[in-house]
């Protein structure tokens, strides 16, 4: 894992003290709320429905045990004993007191964490693949590039006041577990003639105008990626709309001027950038890369897993993924208990996962955009012991990528922007489809729920997506089918008129029944939908 150098640490420490002073000035009235709001947002502090909310950055979703433990300690000490893992691989605390915020940031700084780049119209926290470094199909570990981008983008003077927020994702394999093409810029590391470079996608995103990012460069050599991104951002910063926040994202610019024109302008800017010598020295990427060198894996380990306990065997089949090193496995920890809140974890659960990471996963864990956790380096021989501990803590649900592994934004239960509640709906769906046999029969089926058009719950990318809307003060839910955030990225299509909360659960049952009746061998729900199209599903729902 990356470790702060003295520059990183001093920057973060200075930021904490600066914010402490700003909070003090707000509490004494020296700053008005209008003056203070942009300052607190630059430190991840929002004012939400019930209280202040602090969004903590987890760069590319990677944490050490010590960092995770600190997140649990903060949840217990300053919040109401829990935190919420988000679709941006971050963590949110829902009940923060303004006066405590500087102390929390100071505590985070002791473990090389902060809340910078979690709000505002800047380049946000970089996201990546939760299997980075342990997946056999990647051409390189994407995290050194993600870390380089973090360093490049943090406090970048030119890109601190962009037309709108800007999200970048880096992956390095054909399997996309990070919704790469639904970011403002997506990078997919590829190998060509023995050299690493990146496919660059620009202009993707969800929100009220969802778009899949088009490819704008099929191979940008690794030592020029920063300059090329600088060119992409410069063109956006220059021409992105600032008159209308709903049309200010880069996707609108790329769409309005066209991909070819945007590419042309980027190339022109890039040609200029190349003359400036702004690429970071290769030695810097090498320095960062050294932090992500493969850990000291044991050799000669057994591949055997004792599957005598049927509940354990079920969990292994669903939650454990292949690791690139013999004898090791990747453990996915579900944060989707059937009656729980998607993405929520108690301080005790956070503490437990920190301990498991330290004891069994070479002191490392990951957060996924699907609001689950990952232990990336687990010996197969340790799986049963881990499962037992997860089981005791209510963290052993075996539902990865099944219909109950639902992404849900905080919705109207917590969020000031929301129009409808997402979490109770997620719970109703999970309870309707709770039977393990039924979930297994349905297979991979990604349900994603957003409580408003901002799409934090990624509903556009759900095999089944649900959008909550406000219909004259009453919650109403639009259903969409056919979305995907994976390598086969697509945007869901709305089925028709919306539903009540119970009505949408019934509608989901109708579409899944149709899928079971019509599927061909080996087809997932998404495959059957794509083969049949919307018509029969619509007929099943509306008659």
């Amino acid at each position: 894992m990356y470790r702060y150098d003295s520059y990183d640490q001093s920057i973060v420490d200075a930021r904490v003290e600066e914010f402490r002073d700003q909070v003090q000035r707000r509490l004494t009235g020296a700053l008005t709320e209008d003056q203070f709001k942009p300052l607190r947002l630059m430190n991840g502090l929002y004012l939400q429905l019930h209280a202040y909310m602090l969004r903590v950055a987890i760069p590319y979703g990677t944490l050490s045990g010590k960092q995770m433990r600190k997140l649990g300690e903060i949840a217990a000490k300053y919040d109401k004993g829990y935190g919420h893992f988000t679709t941006r691989q971050n963590l949110q605390y829902n009940w923060i007191k303004l006066a405590d915020a500087p102390d929390i940031l100071a505590e985070l700084a002791t473990v090389e964490m902060h809340a910078i780049q979690t709000s505002g119209n800047c380049i946000r926290n970089i996201s990546s693949d939760q299997y980075a470094g342990v997946s056999a199909d990647e051409v390189a570990d994407p995290r050194p590039w993600a870390e380089l981008l973090r360093q490049w983008s943090s406090f970048h003077p030119e890109f601190t006041y962009l037309p709108r927020k800007f999200k970048i994702c880096v992956i390095a394999g054909d399997d996309d577990r990070a919704a790469m093409k639904l970011h403002d810029i997506g990078l997919k590391l590829v190998e060509r003639d023995g050299k690493i470079g990146a496919e660059v996608y620009a202009g993707g995103g969800m929100g009220r105008t969802p778009m899949v990012a088009p490819l704008i460069n099929d191979f940008m050599p690794e030592d020029e990626i920063i300059s090329y991104l600088e060119a992409c951002l410069r063109v956006y910063n220059r021409y992105g709309r600032r008159d209308n926040k709903y049309k200010a994202r880069i996707k609108i610019l790329v769409h309005e001027i066209g991909v070819e024109e945007y590419k042309r302008q980027v190339e022109e800017e890039f040609a200029h950038m190349r003359t400036l010598g702004l690429n970071p020295p290769v030695e810097e990427l090498d320095r960062i890369r050294a932090f992500f060198a493969p850990p000291a894996y044991d050799t000669g380990l057994s591949e055997d897993i004792d599957r005598a306990d049927p509940a354990f065997a079920l969990w292994v089949d669903r939650q454990v993924a292949a690791h690139k090193v013999p004898g090791y496995a990747i453990v996915n920890i579900s944060l989707k208990p059937l009656t729980g809140i998607p993405g929520d974890a108690s301080a005790e659960q956070i503490e437990l996962v920190a301990t498991l990471a330290e004891q069994y996963s070479l002191d490392e864990l990951r957060v996924t955009h699907a609001q689950n956790l990952v232990l990336p380096h687990v010996k197969k021989a340790d799986l049963y012991a881990i499962w037992q501990k997860l089981e005791e803590a209510g963290l052993a649900e075996a539902n990865l990528d099944l219909i109950t592994d639902i992404i849900a934004c905080p919705g109207l239960d917590y969020c000031a922007l929301a129009n409808a509640r997402s979490i109770p709906l997620a719970q109703k769906i999970a309870q309707r489809f709770a039977a393990a046999e039924r979930q297994a029969e349905l297979g991979e089926l990604k349900v994603k729920i957003s409580g408003c058009i901002n799409a934090c719950g990624h509903h556009h990318a759900g095999h089944i997506g649900i959008l909550g809307v406000d219909r004259r003060g009453v919650e109403n839910f639009q259903l969409s089918l056919g979305g995907s955030g994976a390598e086969d990225t697509s945007l869901g299509q709305i089925t028709g008129p919306g539903f009540s909360e119970d009505g949408v659960v019934d509608a989901i049952e109708k579409v899944t029944d149709l899928y079971l009746a019509e599927r061909e061998s080996g087809e997932r729900f998404l495959d059957t939908y794509r083969r049949l199209g919307m018509k029969p599903f619509k007929e099943a729902i509306y008659g």
């Binding site: 707000r26 509490l27 004494t28 009235g29 709320e33 004012l47 429905l49 019930h50 209280a51 202040y52 109401k80 009940w95 923060i96 007191k97 303004l98 006066a99 809140i341 109207l412 239960d413 917590y414 000031a416 929301a418 509640r421 979490i423 109770p424 719970q427 406000d470 003060g473 009453v474 919650e475």
Partner: protein, 98 residues
Amino acid sequence: MKILTGNDLVSGDVIWWAGDGWSRQVGDSADVGERGDDLARTEEAALRVVGAYVIDATVSDDGVRPAHIKDRIRALGPTVRPDLMLKPNDADAGNWVI
């Protein structure tokens, strides 16, 4: 009736104007009539509230009820965490929101 709500500047707690100060219970809300915006400005300047705004509400035997579901959830707390709601012992509290 019109009532005034916002968040306590320091704690962030949802608060309701009770006529002579702020309360954490929506049931204590006072009708602010046309004075809401002026009150909001005065109270924000006094550092007692942040993000204050006026909403419509009704009053009945069950007490004061904000007109919009968003404000009813603000008044009650997250409906998915009964332990954190302002009526933790009321099994029917969630229905008040709908």
